[in-house]
């Protein structure tokens, strides 16, 4: 089972992370990339990088032929799938093996067996692993499902058997919701996973999500490396993960570990895997599913065990026995991970794209990322940018360190959830270790709009060093604009006047991406990045972007007259394309004027409603005659 060169069939932070361990162990590495990732960090870290297709994942990172072709061309003899993409695709694992390459992961049969939630649940239940009461039968008729739902009782969860990562989940609380929920879930599952099979489960009220990391080798050994608590989730997407779980006693840990190992044993599991459980308030736990791959959140386990799980994956794939026996596994301290996403928490967590203008990871914590300054964050893939993992002797030490690290993380150019993560970490329920999967329901995201202090700081930085005036007070006037607001500011040596107040804010200097300002007598140095007219700045844990907007709001710099269309020369109106009262878009054809043997198409100078149209078809008009006037709806002048 020996191999020498590993093709990493993934991108982003995990591709980088795998490459580092592979190189450390002496393996050659091959990165793959789509057109959207040309020049990305993972392509630079590997020994060589192979283009596998256009940006669309289906034609690149999800294309089995493209990946196998890349392996062949680069001379790779092993494939690490990372997580996501094809990592839990049994056909891919099968194809890799059939191509004579080593698949760094479990056997295709194990992937397939655990890939169906329905079959997996039936399988592990048969081996005494606790499962939630529910229905996992093969009869998927609507009547049967409705009947089973009645037996299980409400609330319950409808799940796509083939789903994962929160997709294909639908809670049902009201009997009237049941039938539509089943119908929609089946249709969705079919569309998303090519498989409409559903399972039903009793829903727990705000349980914890606790998962056990397991490892198996080709010599029949399967052990567990303890748990991770991933209860902090937003719409079933993990946000914060930690190890150990604040809720587990050593006894419960041993019990859940044994159950996880038992579940893995049902498929003779080889490699890294995770068994996910729901834990209720009474210490009862229930099998949810098994992930047959390395998890995003594996670093928290590494942090407290001191192990390198990718190293273990490579050793197991090479046929070595597990480096440790169960009773040799040690755990020390506490670790917490947060996922830094390119998403705007203030606007419904909308994914964000843009260039990474500045990226300075914080000191004192582990940061797994695939970012390079100058690279764009594209809309083609998962918007996760980086993971920050803090560890400490105690949970509070780790938490404190992580909050501070988030505050020092500098990522400009694309909006991130940085402040939201810090806010979550500071939530009393999390601080006290009481977080359940319900923590982020009804969570009020902190206000992301710049307050007067931030406006004043931005104004002072944008104004720059003030000049010397022989008389009067040197004044720089500017208009700040940001997503959802704007303000006029006047910057003088005495301070910044903005929003009807004068704040004692002034710029000391700006150098090397940092600005030093005084605010009410205190001196602060903050990261800043300029992008054209935009200024990115970090202040008290938040990132703001403010634009140095033109002073005039009315400015129409396209040279078009405001709201009127005049005849450019004498001629005849040969065609009227609109009528009075009609709404028109900017650039829409209004009429055609024939003059000097030319047909001139006259267009709307702006969007609006045709308020006046004092011409008719065939009419002769002199030069500069009013042909149309638009009502711009108050936005005109």
């Amino acid at each position: 089972m020996s191999f020498r060169r590993i093709l990493i069939a993934n991108r982003g932070e995990i591709a980088c992370r795998i490459a580092r361990t592979a190189k450390r162990l002496g393996y050659g590495t091959v990165a793959v990339y789509s057109d959207a990732d040309a020049g990305a960090l993972h392509t630079r870290l590997a020994d060589q990088a192979v283009r596998i297709g256009p940006a669309a994942a289906a034609q690149s990172y999800l294309s089995i032929p493209a990946l196998l072709d890349a392996a062949r061309r680069s001379g790779a003899d092993a494939v690490h799938p990372g997580y996501g993409f094809l990592s839990e695709n049994a056909d891919f694992a099968q194809a890799v093996v059939e191509a004579g390459l080593v698949f760094i992961g479990p056997a295709p049969s194990a992937i397939r067996a655990m890939g169906s939630k329905r079959l997996a649940k039936e399988r592990v239940a048969a081996h005494g692993v606790p499962v939630l009461p529910g229905y996992t039968g093969a009869d998927q008729s609507l009547d049967r499902l409705v009947g089973e739902a009645g037996r299980i009782g409400l609330p319950l969860m409808v799940k796509a058997s083939a789903g994962g990562g929160g997709k294909g989940l639908r809670p049902v609380r009201d009997p009237a919701e049941l039938r539509p929920a089943l119908e929609r879930a089946a249709a969705e599952a079919l569309a998303s996973f090519g498989d409409g099979e559903l399972i039903l489960e009793r829903a727990l009220l705000d349980p914890r999500h606790v998962e056990i990391q397991i490892f198996g080798d080709r010599h029949g050994n399967i052990i567990h490396l303890g748990e991770r608590d991933c209860s902090v989730q937003r719409r079933h997407q993990k946000v914060v993960e930690e190890a150990p779980s604040p809720a587990l006693t050593p006894e419960l840990r041993a019990e859940m570990g044994a159950a996880a190992v038992a579940a893995a044993c049902t498929v003779d599991y080889v490699g890294a895997g995770t068994v996910e459980f729901l834990l209720d308030g009474d210490g009862r736990f229930y099998f949810m599913e098994m992930n047959t791959r390395l998890q995003v959140e594996h670093p928290v386990t590494e942090a407290i065990t001191g192990l390198d799980l990718v190293e273990w994956q490579l050793r197991v794939a090479a046929g070595e026995p597990l480096p440790l026996a169960q009773d040799q596994v040690r755990s020390c301290g506490h670790a917490i991970e947060v996922r830094l996403y390119a998403e705007d928490a203030g606007r419904g967590f909308l994914p964000q794209t843009g260039p990474v203008l500045a990226w300075v990871p914080p000191d004192g914590v582990r940061v797994d990322h695939g970012l390079v300054e100058g690279q764009p964050v594209t809309p083609h893939y998962d918007p996760m940018l980086a993971k920050l993992i803090a560890s400490g002797a105690t949970r509070e030490e780790a938490r404190r360190r992580l909050v501070r690290a988030l505050g020092e993380t500098r990522l400009h150019g694309v909006v991130t959830n940085r402040a939201f993560l810090a806010q979550v970490l500071e939530t009393p329920a999390f601080v006290e270790g009481r977080a359940t999967t319900g923590l982020l329901n009804d969570f009020v995201v902190g206000d992301a709009a710049p307050d007067l202090v931030v406006q004043a700081i931005a104004a002072a930085i944008l104004a720059g060093k003030l000049g010397w005036w022989s008389h009067g007070t040197p004044t720089a006037r500017l208009r700040l604009a940001w997503d959802g607001g704007e303000a006029l500011a006047a910057v003088t040596p005495e301070g910044v006047a903005v929003g009807g107040e004068t704040l004692a804010v002034s710029l000391v200097g700006e150098c090397g991406g940092q600005a030093t300002v005084t605010v009410d007598g205190g001196t602060h140095t903050l990261p800043v990045t300029r992008d054209g007219n935009a200024l990115w700045l970090d202040w008290q844990g938040r990132t703001y972007v403010l634009e140095d907007a033109p002073l005039s709001k009315a400015a129409k710099r396209d040279g078009a007259a405001a709201d009127t269309v005049l005849s450019p020369m004498p001629g005849t109106v040969v065609e009227l394309a609109v009528e009075a009262g009609q709404a028109v878009a900017k650039g829409q054809k209004l009429m055609v004027l024939e003059a000097m043997k030319m047909q001139l198409e006259l267009k709307a100078p702006a969007a609006g409603v045709v308020a006046e149209l004092p011409v008719r078809q065939g009419q002769q008009v002199p030069a500069r005659a009013l042909l149309a006037r638009l009502d711009l709806g108050g936005e005109g002048l």
């Binding site: 944008l462 104004a463 720059g464 060093k465 003030l466 000049g467 010397w468 005036w469 022989s470 008389h471 009067g472 040197p474 004044t475 720089a476 006037r477 500017l478 006047a490 033109p550 002073l551 005039s552 009315a554 400015a555 129409k556 007259a561 405001a562 005049l566 500069r624 002048l637």
Partner: protein
């Protein structure tokens, strides 16, 4: 180079007294500047309602951020005509100065339409003429932000004939290759219509700009025609029909932005102007200039006290230090700009006169600008001076000053009396720039001196008629004379009459001089493309 060592200790009582006196005088000047501003601020609400910016805000928006700004003649007309220097302080109804716009050093002139509608006063006109002169001499592009109710007809006789010169100057600036960019923010009518008319680039604020020779009332009186403002000269008319404007902007701020963009096209950027020598601070802080000299010109001091706080490294190459020592000449640098200096340590005597005349000629030979630090009671009088040929030697100095071809920058830092005002390059000798300290005094002679002279003449007259003057009557007459003359000698009195280009903070002297020297040097490097007739509008 030799280093000057001032003798006045900044921790001494003398220094503290000097400083307190100077700061009190400076405070009055600053207060006046504040009153002009406050006078304009009274219109803030009205302007905001009309969607307009106040004129000083227009200027701030026009200037580059971080631009230095040397205001010119800020106190023109103070206490004259409708300006009472108090609540109706007007500053000539024009805000003007030299600053940077789109990276170019330019002259900015903004009608202060927040005061009396920007009406043109006799001193405002004189100020405008000086601005045009400065623009021409220093080859500065001229940006005008116009909005004026027109000439104040009450004073038409003081303006009408001379007023034509402002338009002639515009034509000559254009012909000289110095671009003029004018924003019409509001009314610019009648005579004011020629201001945009003679500008090379005109930007009209839509719905606000009005440019016509005769408004509706005058038109009705003249020809009986009835027409609206817009029909006669609105932005649409000029942009679409008459062609008087090149650009239409949506509001004041937009127009200023357009002006910045136009200027960047109209005036080529100059290579960065670096002084020929490495700038170094003086060894003695320029801030000490507030206390280095007594404000009373009757108390003598060594002008080297000033030079030590003005020159790079406080280094001064003293020219003929021991010959005519009351007239101090020598060379030094200011912010890296080499300059010759002439100062006074008392009246100018025959030796001092020829020394200064020689020094001026040497500066012309080497192309070095000259800075005059005026503090003199005039040319030396008395038999010794007359026998020494003070008239002919003083004449040599005046000849040298009047015909010198290098830039002169004059500072009135104390007394400026008698022909000393002329020989030391007062206003009538056309220095490139001239500024006053708040303590400056300018007159043909000191008020007490004048009263004494008048008293002697009066006594003789009375004696000739055979009687004697009562000493009490004589004293009363002299006191009255002093009282009448005293206010007419102050810095503000002179500045109001444009005897200087502004009263400055003494502590800014170094910056002002460096700015002027850089401006003058830049003018020499600015290649102009003159044409014969100015640019005519199509």
């Amino acid at each position: 180079m030799p280093v000057l060592n001032p003798t006045l200790d900044p921790s001494s009582d003398d220094f503290a007294r000097n400083r307190a006196d100077m700061m009190a005088l400076l405070g009055e000047v600053r207060d006046l500047h504040g009153r002009i501003r406050a006078n304009a601020e009274r219109q803030a609400e009205k302007f905001a309602k009309r969607g307009q910016m106040l004129p000083h805000d227009r200027v701030a928006a026009l200037l580059d951020r971080g631009s230095d700004w040397l205001e010119v003649a800020p106190f023109a007309g103070t206490g004259m005509h409708d300006d009472d220097g108090q609540g109706e302080a007007q500053g000539g109804n024009v805000i003007a100065g030299i600053g940077f716009v789109a990276g170019r050093r330019v002259m900015v002139a903004a009608s202060n339409s927040a005061i009396k509608g920007g009406a043109i006063s006799p001193m405002g006109l004189r100020k405008t003429l000086r601005l045009q002169e400065l623009a021409l001499l220093n080859r500065l592009p001229l940006v005008t932000l116009a909005e004026s109710a027109g000439a104040n007809l009450t004073y038409q006789s003081e303006m009408f004939v001379e007023g034509g010169r402002s338009f002639a100057n515009q034509a000559r600036l254009s012909a000289a290759g110095i671009p003029q960019v004018t924003v019409v923010h509001g009314s610019s009518t009648a005579g004011g219509a020629y201001l945009p008319g003679l500008s090379d680039y005109v930007i009209l604020v839509r719905g606000k700009a009005k440019v016509f020779l005769a408004g509706p009332p005058l038109l009705k009186a003249a020809t009986g025609e009835i027409a609206t403002d817009e029909e006669l000269g609105g932005s649409d008319l000029h942009a679409r029909v008459a062609g008087t404007g090149e650009f239409v902007a949506e509001d004041d701020a937009d127009a200023i932005q357009v002006a910045r963009e136009v200027l960047a096209r109209a005036a080529p950027a100059l290579p960065a102007m670096n002084p020929p020598r490495q700038p170094r601070p003086p060894r003695f802080s320029p801030d000490e200039l507030a206390g280095a000299v007594p404000v009373d010109y009757r108390r003598p001091y060594d002008v080297r006290e000033v030079l030590a706080r003005l020159l790079d490294g406080s280094e001064f190459l003293d020219f003929k230090a021991e010959y005519g020592p009351a007239t101090v000449c020598g060379w030094g640098d200011v912010e890296g700009w080499p300059c010759g200096f002439i100062g006074n340590n008392g009246p100018i005597d025959p030796a001092g006169s020829v020394k200064a005349a020689q020094f001026i000629q040497l500066c012309n030979q080497s192309g070095t600008p000259i800075c005059f630090l005026q503090n003199t009671t005039g040319y030396m009088v008395g038999t010794e001076a007359e026998r020494g040929g003070i008239v002919k030697h003083g004449s040599k100095m005046i000849q040298a000053v009047a015909n010198s071809a290098v830039p002169h920058v004059t500072f009135l830092i104390g007394g400026s009396f008698g022909a000393g005002n002329y020989g030391m390059c007062g206003r009538s000798y056309d220095p490139r720039f001239i500024f006053a300290w708040p303590n400056a005094r300018t007159a043909v002679m000191g008020p007490e001196q004048a009263a004494t002279v008048m008293g002697i003449l009066m006594e003789e007259k009375v004696r000739r008629s055979g009687s004697e003057m009562e000493p009490a009557v004589l004293d009363a007459m002299k006191a009255k004379m002093v009282k009448r003359m005293e206010p007419e000698t102050t810095a503000l009195f002179g500045s109001a009459r444009l005897w200087d280009d502004g009263i400055i903070d003494p502590r800014d002297t170094r910056r002002v001089l460096a700015f002027c020297l850089a401006t003058a040097r830049e003018a020499e490097t600015r290649a102009l493309r003159p044409n014969s007739f100015g640019v005519a509008r199509g």
